[in-house]
Structure formats: C-alpha cells, structure tokens
C-alpha cells in the first residue's frame, strides 16, 4: 500500500498497555456445566477453579440482566431477550436468503445494507435497526449526506490563517452587520471580573469506582536501557509518593543520564516526566500542594501549541470530526440550530460543520454559535475575532449565521439563561420553529474535576438548556487516580504511546522541516499536560483526564444517556486517518456507542454523545 517512513526504527519494540474498561470488567462467564466443576476432585485442574471463581464474580456484578456468557465476548444481550433476538436474527437471515435467491445483487443493493449502524454490541437493538430498514417501504433519502471529499480537505485547510480565502467574493444581499451578532454580550464583563478559582487543598471527593480496576502497562522499548529508564522513572515516582525526596532527587539525576542514551519517543517522554518530577521534588512545598505556573502569559502560547497539535496529528481532527458528525445527525431536518462550544479557542471545529450544513439537502438551517473561552491576559477579544472569521466563511457559503462569544474563567460560572439568551435582534420572534441546541466540549470537562461540585454544576446547566445532543471529546486515560503513583504510571503509558504515534505518523501537507517543527510543538503541547499531571496538585492540577467508562458513569448519574455514534462517522473518521501516513498505525474503535482513536490497539481519545435521559431521539418540531 503506502510506503512507510519510520523515524524511530532505532528501537523496534514497543509495548502498548491498557487499563481495563470498567464497564466490561472482568470477562465473566457463567458456567453451566455444574457436573464439570468439582474443583476439589482433582484431575480437572486449575482452570475449572478459575471458571468457578469467574462465576462467583459474575453473580456479584449485577448487570441488569445482561447475559454473562455473551458479555464475556463483547455483546450485551439481556438474558430475557435472548430468544427474541434469535428469532429476529432468523427473520433477517431469511430475508437475506430470499433476496439472494431472487438476485445475487439485490441483497447488497438493498438500502438496509448501506444503512448506518449503531452500537453493534447491543445485538438486539442492532438487529431491530436493520429489520426496520428492511421493512421500510421505499428507500428514503439517505440521512446526513457524507461530507464530500472536498469538505474533508477543507477541514484541514481551515487554520485561522487560512480563512482569508473566504473573504473574497462577498455576496451582495447579505450585510454582515444585519446578520451577525458579533459583539460579546454585556454580561461577559461581569463574568470576567468574577473571582478566580479558589484553591482547594483537598482532593475532590470524586474518586469513581474506576479506581478499582485500572492497572496499566508502559510503553517500553525492550532494549535493556529502555527498560531501565522506565524502571528509574517508576522508582522516582514511588519515592515521591513516599515523600522520600532525597532518594527521588538522586534518581531523577540518573534518569537524565539514562534518557540521553535513548532515541526517539522514549527519550523525549522520559525528559518531560523527569522535568516534571524535578519540579515536584525541588519546589518548596506548601500545605496547599505544589504551585504551578500556569498563568495568563501562557494562554497565547498555549493556543499556538494547540494549533500545532491540531495540524500535525489526527487526534483533535478526529475529535472535531466525530463530534460534528453527531451534531449534524442530531440537527437533521431542523431549521434553527444553536451550538454552544465550551472551548472556542480558534474555532477550528466549526468551518467543517458550517460547510456540512451548507451542503445539507433541503438547504442550510439558521445557525447560531455561542463560543466560550477564558479571559485573555491582554484583554484582547480573540473570541470576537474568531467569530468574525467564521461569519465571513458563513457568508461566503450562504449560511445564516449568528455568533456570540462569552468570556468565562470557569465553565461553572455559566448560567443557562446566558447560554440561551434572548434573541436581541428581534429575529426569530415571528419564527415558530424552536431552536435546537447542541453543546460541544472538547478537552474541557476534565478541568472541572479540579473544583468540587463544578462538573455537577455544569452538567446541570447543560440539562437546563435542553440540548438535543451533547458531544464530549476527552482523553482516554485515567490521570485522576487516587494516588500519585497511579496517575504517574498511567500517564507514562499514555504519553509514551502518544509520543510514539507522533514519531510514526506524518501530517498531510508537510515538508520535513515543517513536520519536525510541528512535531516538536505538539510534543511541547503534550509536555505541558505531563507537567500538570505530575508536578501539580490541588486545584492547579487541571489535567484530570478520566476514561470513557468513568465519564459514562458521571454522565448517567447526572441524568444523561448515551447517543450512539454510528458506522457512518466511523467510516469517515477512518478515511480521514488515511491522510496521516496511510493511517497505518492509527485505529478507530467503536465501544458502546462511542468512538475512540488510538495508536495501534491503545485508544487515546474518545468521542461520546449524550442527551437527557428519557428524551425521545427526535422530538417533533412543535414545542
């Protein structure tokens, strides 16, 4: 297929380790053959005893009637539905047989086999979905049209610097001043002055059941020096955990020597971890925990690093793309739509959605975007600038677009009435069509875990704006474990894999220099996260990444239910990866309706979609 350019062939052996997905823990099975289970009776050996033990655990883990035998193999079927599922499978099979008998091609031409699939772990719902399409009379126009290749390409072109291209060819009958509401609301001024986060010395009492399971592995090269390096990092972290700073200090010095002998990703990762450890060891301790230097000077720099991370590897693009796809599907058929973006930054996510909406069959809806971002150190209004650029693009492609920017120190400061806001320009008053809301958060929610109650507050706010869909992109790792050593270990595995993927992939349009530069900046972007996880404590430790299973538990507790992301988004996300070095090392996976992107088999970021529990998938247009 594609020629592979591998930079780090110097160390061929890398291990990727994983934490346990909590919902699917441990692979239980229910043993039916009691007559085989006389564990005491000798001869049968240990593995029957293991089976017996598994069975014991299964009976503890009440899983609302989900059949354990199939659950162990990745499928969720309620025991009481088993026979029903069998019958439906049979119906489908017969339908396929008969259509195959009629004509070999009919089967494959049938819309049901081009249809979008959702959540295949849930065999019952999956089969229902296909059956209903099979029985649907004439093929309906396919739902959200796959964004044509052109729009995919555009997504990559649309760095803020590249938006000029859309300012040409303005359309006469739109006057931006009439159409777009670009000024931040007056209320933002008061938000801006609100108190900053309080330092909270205690850990948030939010340790979820997840701490139980996860035990992770490391990315190692199997050469002796690499293994010693990882051991030294672990030993240092352990000394820190035991408050033996003298020993830790001695080890951290060795680490830099060991790291120098390494090549590629491992050396870089070890460097960032060692630096963070050193900060932790040598910084004067305060009872409130280690203080960190993340001040406002760095915001612009952060944005720059973010931009490079966006450009040089597929993670953020994957997050944006899958979230957009879910939003697009949720907006199908709606004439007035509103996206609330919890982390506007440079607005990189929205050109692609604007384009997809513009190409929608039946014409684009009226699109309102509310962008939220932190205060800028120089009091500049970057949110407004981003809004202008998006407005220009919207005008060019003729999407009715309005924009508001909100400056908020913390998402927890937001109130529902601010987000929904009254229509200030009088537009829409005569419009009976209700506005359909989507809330989007990319790498934002985990920061809220640093302040107790903040996440709950924000999830309450989300529910109050009654969104049709909530899209969440988060790092797929638990960097919020109870002990320092847990966090350190998981982070070491996670970032080693991340760094390895940066070595192994090339972004689409890149000269070698641009590539190296982009990679170095991306590493720095990740390095800041490493620093925060390892060196910071208390409210300043904001990179509190948690795994999908933990988010699922939090969202469900707060009254949300999952909206499965379908095979359509999966396919397109997979094709997107082909732009990165043939996509060989990257893999998209579907897990319980969520999509994750990983390097080889290690999932690294995950997109999930949610709605208020109990809401029908598509409420009728009338309120």
């Amino acid at each position: 297929m594609f020629t592979q350019i591998r930079v780090c062939s110097a160390y061929p052996f890398v291990i990727f380790g994983f934490s346990v997905p909590l919902s699917g823990v441990p692979q239980e099975e229910k043993e039916m053959k009691r007559d085989h289970q006389d564990a005491g009776g000798g001869g049968r050996g240990d593995w029957y005893a293991v089976a017996e033990q598994e069975k014991g655990k299964a009976s503890m883990g009440t899983d609302d009637g989900v059949d354990e035998l199939l659950a162990a193999l990745g499928y969720k079927v309620r025991s009481s539905d088993m026979a029903d599922v069998a019958q439906k499978l049979e119906q489908l099979e017969m339908a396929m047989e008969s259509s195959a008998a009629a004509n070999d091609d009919v089967l494959f031409a049938h819309p049901a086999f081009d249809s979008v699939h959702y959540n295949p772990s849930d065999i019952s719902a999956w089969v229902d979905n296909i059956l209903s399409e099979l029985n649907a009379p004439p093929p309906l126009p396919q739902q959200p049209p796959p964004p044509p290749a052109a729009s995919l390409r555009h997504q990559f072109d649309l760095s803020p610097a590249g938006t000029e291209q859309y300012s040409i060819g303005t359309v006469d009958h739109y006057s931006p001043a009439d159409v777009y509401e670009l000024k931040p609301q007056s209320s933002t001024a008061s938000l801006r002055d609100r108190k900053r986060l309080k330092v909270c010395s205690a850990f948030p009492s939010s340790s979820t059941p997840t701490d139980v399971a996860a035990q992770q592995v490391v990315v190692v090269d199997s050469q002796e020096a690499g293994i010693r390096l990882v051991h030294a990092l672990m030993a240092c972290a352990e000394a820190v955990q035991k408050d033996n700073l003298k020993a830790a200090g001695a080890i951290v010095k060795q680490i830099s020597v060991l790291a120098a002998s390494q090549g590629g990703a491992m050396r870089k990762v070890a460097g960032y971890f060692a630096e963070a450890l050193a900060h932790r060891i040598y910084r004067p301790q305060s009872p409130r925990g280690v203080s960190c230097s993340s001040t406002h000077e760095s915001t612009a720099f952060d944005d720059m690093l973010h931009q490079h991370f966006y450009e040089s590897c597929p993670y953020l693009k994957f997050g944006h793309f899958t979230a957009n796809q879910a939003i697009l599907e949720a907006f199908a058929g709606c004439r007035r739509v509103h996206v609330v973006d919890f982390g506007m930054r440079q607005g990189l996510q929205w050109p692609a959605l604007l384009q997809a909406l513009a190409l929608r069959p039946g014409g684009p809806p009226s699109f309102r975007l509310t962008g939220i971002g932190p205060p800028q150190p120089d009091n500049s209004d970057s949110l407004q600038e981003v809004g202008w650029k998006l407005a220009q693009l919207a005008e060019t492609i003729r999407v009715d677009f309005r924009y508001r920017g909100f400056v908020a120190t913390s998402l927890a400061d937001l109130e529902p009435y601010l987000l929904l806001g009254a229509e200030t320009d009088g537009r829409g008053v005569e419009d009976d069509e209700p506005e359909v809301v989507a809330v989007n958060s990319v790498f934002e929610l985990h920061r809220l875990l640093a302040r107790s109650g903040a996440l709950e507050k924000v999830l309450g706010t989300i529910l109050a704006v009654r969104p049709r869909i909530v899209t969440v992109v988060e790092q797929e790792a638990n960097h919020n474990g109870r002990t320092f050593l847990d966090r350190f270990t998981e982070a070491l595995h996670y970032y080693s894999t991340m760094f390895d993927s940066l070595e192994g992939s090339t972004s689409p349009p890149s000269s070698p220099e641009a590539r190296r530069h982009g990679q170095a900046m991306s590493e720095m972007y990740l390095g800041r996260q490493i620093y925060n996880v390892v060196a910071c404590e208390g409210a300043e430790r904001t990179e509190r990444h948690e795994a999908l299973a933990q988010w699922r538990a939090r969202m469900c507790r707060a009254g949300f239910e999952s909206v499965p992301i379908g095979s359509n988004a999966f396919k397109q996300a997979s094709m997107l990866l082909a732009l990165f070095d043939g996509g060989e090392g990257f893999r998209v996976e579907e897990n319980d309706g969520c999509l994750s992107l990983g390097w080889h088999t290690r999932p690294l970021i995950a997109t999930s979609a949610w709605r208020a529990a109990g809401d029908p998938l598509r409420t009728s247009a009338s309120s």
Partner: protein, 450 residues
C-alpha cells in the same frame, strides 16, 4: 399466541431427531422441561416460564437418548401439532421455541408431549448467527470487502496488564517495519498488583520450570477478526489458564487487502520473533517449547507456518488445529450435505478462498489443499505432531479429515478429535460437552508434548 401452523412449518427446515424420555413428567415438574429446551440456560429457574428447574435438572441426568428415531417427515403435521400442544402446555411464550426450531432442534416425545431441545445452544446460535449476518454485510459479491464496516462491527477488547483471573495481556509491536502486532497473554507475574511492577515482570519467564508457548492464529476465514477481537481474547486467556502457557496471538494481515502468502509470512515472523526472546525459553535446556494453534483460517496458517519451521529447523512441539480451513476444487459429500445448514454455505467458503488465494489460483492451490494435486509431501520433513479438532456439523469436515489422512500418509503423528454434534465456533462458549472435552484434549496434548 401461536402463529398459524403453516408459518411454523415454514420456519422448520432442519431434520428432526426424536429423543424419548423414559418417564413422563407430571405437573410442575413437567413445566421445567422448558429449561431443557435451552440446555445452556439452565439456571436456578427457567427463564421462560419462571418455574424452578431443580427437578428438571435431575430429570436431565436421567434422560436417555434414543438415537436414530427419525420423525416421519419434517413437514409432518403430526409433529407440529405436538409441538404446539407442548408450547401451550408450558404456557411459555411461543417465540423462544420457534427461534430454536430453526436450528438442529431435537424433539422429544414425552408420551403425549414433545420436548424440543437444540443441538446448538441458544447462546451459540445467537453469537454465530450474529457473525454470519455481519459477515454477509461486509462481503461484497464482487470480491471486495467493506473493511470499515467490518471493523465497526467487530467487538474488540484492549490489552490489560492488570491480572484478571491470574492472566495479564499486553500488545507488542514485533516488527515496526511491517507494523506486525501481537497480543501476549501470560500468567500474572508475582506482585503484579503493585502499580509499579507489572512492567517489571512482563519479560520474565512465568515459571522457573518448563512452560509451553502457544502461538495463536485467530480465525475468521483470513478476512475477519484480529488479535484484539473479544472472542479470541477470551479464548487465549483460557489457554493460559488451561496450559500454564504464554500465548502469543498474532495480528496477521488479512485478505482481501493482503492475499497469500501475507498471513503465512506474518505467522512465520511471529515464530521467529518468539525464538529470539530469551524469556520465552524454559527448562534446563533453555528451549522454546512452542505450539502453533489456530481455528478456521488460523488452523490453516498454523499448518503452513509449521511447514516452514520444519524446513528451517525450528523445533515446534505440536500443532493444534481447531476446525481448520482447508478446501479443494471438487465438492465433497459434507459440503453438499451441510451447505447452508449450521451457519456456513459453500458460496461463502468459495468467496473467502477467492479473496485469499493469489489472483487466478483455484482451490487446489497448496495453501488451500495441501495434500491435493498441487500439494507437496511432508515425508522428508521433520514436521511436528498434530491435534486436529473436527466438528461433525461443519461442512469443511471432509477436507479436514483429508488433511488428517494426508498427515498419516506422510507418516506424521496426528490425533483426530471428531465431535459429531459440534458446529463451527463451539469452542467459543463454555456451554457444551464438546467445549469441555476439547479443552481437556488440548490440555493433555500440550502437557504430554512439552
């Protein structure tokens, strides 16, 4: 409640076998036989009629099978009347019974009542039918394959270095140039519950004594599944517990994107890799005690890798082939007899061979038919001993039996385990005697050839 008898008959296409029960059940006791309809779902109570199954369980032990009593004819109205009568008697929802009728059901005469049970347990039927459905959707008649949808539908499990039932797993890139991954399963190293140590022990031998290394090639007819597919993750974990082994599950390249001989090359690469890893060597002689194992296409790969090993002088302790995928140009008796029954059709088999074999090759290619007209001989090679598991309801069985004959003719040591009533995939779920007895065979084969 009961559908019209005609519909019922339409569903019922399998041959019926009758089992007689020695005594007629009475009252509540009889109702418990509903749970016997679903031999794998016998628990404390029948799931379909909420009646305690304890008595039924006892009955089960006493049940006597009378072979060879064929129903007058599958379409006989008599049998259907009896079935409907039975369903009514149980006051069970009729659907479960209909669902299971589809598949190799066994009807028993209770002296007035018909008891139906299945050759294929309901769980297995659901699992494999679900695969069949998914596979039918991703395979296109023109020989192309919807890989994205296949990956979407495939259920995967991440590696997990925390011990689950004493087994840990991790993924390793054994060849960065070819991106060849393998998932390694091993008994948990001591102290592995300490967060900082799992890594430390991963590359140490699990035992000071000799232990087996099993290189596992997953099934999926060369086109489906991978080393992180949930069904194979589960099976490999079993092998660790069963044999005290380190299991290396190879993520070989799949067809139709990668045809012959890519899968064999990757399989061979994994064996060579294992032979250079010091921690996989064991015993006083510090030897790699390696078994090659696989189901379906994986069994085929195991054979071909073992041939290369024999040619190259790498010692393999044994081959374990579960329902291995072989074939040939001519149609065998079992292919004709079982076509379209028990999940598999000849048409599917042909598609997979066409997708895997070199362009233009036919099924007498030695990859497919190793002892056929184009096959070589193993007579001169130090080819290892084999354990071959054959399911009597698998249409490929004649080719598997021919393979066993071929090995015998070449003077090789081979043990055939033939399970007459087993179907493809029986080894994925611990819900039949076939499962337990075959696992026991594998365990014995490994321990006696270590």
């Amino acid at each position: 409640m009961a559908p019209p008898a005609d519909d019922v008959r339409g569903l019922f296409r399998q041959e019926l076998r009758i089992q007689l029960l020695e005594r007629r059940p009475k009252g509540k006791e009889a109702a418990c036989f509903a749970s016997l309809c679903f031999p794998n779902s016998i628990s404390d109570s029948c799931r379909y009629c909420s009646v305690s199954a304890h008595d039924g369980g006892k009955q089960r032990g006493e049940r006597q099978r009378v072979e060879g009593m064929d129903v007058p004819s599958p379409s006989s109205p008599w049998i259907w009347d009896k079935i409907l009568e039975f369903v009514e008697f149980l006051r069970c929802p009729v659907l479960p019974v209909l669902a299971m009728l589809r598949f190799g059901c066994v009807a028993s005469d209770l002296g007035g009542f018909i008891l139906i049970s299945m050759v294929v347990p309901l769980h297995t039927w659901v699992l494999i039918s679900n695969f069949k459905l998914a596979y039918n959707m991703v395979r296109r008649p023109d020989g192309t394959f919807d890989r994205h949808l296949a990956e979407f539908l495939d259920r995967k499990v991440p590696a997990n270095a925390s011990p689950v039932n004493g087994v840990v797993s991790f993924d390793i890139l054994i060849n960065r140039a070819s991106n060849l991954l393998a998932r390694i399963y091993r008994p948990a190293p001591p102290n592995s519950s300490h967060p900082a140590t799992p890594l430390a022990g991963l590359h140490h031998p699990p035992s000071p004594d000799q232990f087996p290394v099993i290189i596992f090639y997953h099934g999926g007819s060369f086109a489906h599944s991978s080393s992180n597919t949930a069904i194979y993750d589960s099976l490999c974990r079993r092998f660790v517990s069963l044999c005290g082994a380190v299991v290396i599950s190879v993520d070989y390249r799949r067809s139709p994107e990668y045809r012959y001989p890519c899968a064999y090359d990757d399989g061979w690469e994994a064996l060579k890799w294992a032979s250079t890893e010091p921690w996989l060597h064991s015993g006083k002689d510090s030897k790699l005690r390696v078994f090659l194992c696989g189901d379906s296409s994986g069994g085929n790969i195991a054979h071909h890798v073992a041939v290369r090993a024999a040619e190259s002088g790498i010692d393999v302790s044994g081959n374990i082939l579960l329902n291995p995928m072989f074939g040939g140009n001519r149609r065998t008796d079992s292919e004709v007899r079982l076509d379209g029954k028990y999940f598999v059709t000849i048409q599917d088999r042909d598609w997979y061979w066409k997708a895997y074999l070199p362009e233009g090759a036919d099924r007498d290619h030695p990859a497919c038919n190793p002892f056929g007209p184009n096959g070589g001989t193993l007579k001169e090679l130090p080819f290892t001993r084999s354990l071959v598991i054959v399911a009597g309801l698998d249409l490929v069985q004649d080719w598997q039996l021919a393979y066993v004959e071929g090995l015998k003719k070449a003077g090789k040591d081979v043990k055939l385990v033939y399970r007459e009533q087993a179907t493809i995939g029986f080894y994925l779920l611990p819900n039949t005697d076939h499962f337990y007895e075959v696992m026991e065979e594998i365990k014995n084969f490994v321990s006696s050839n270590l």
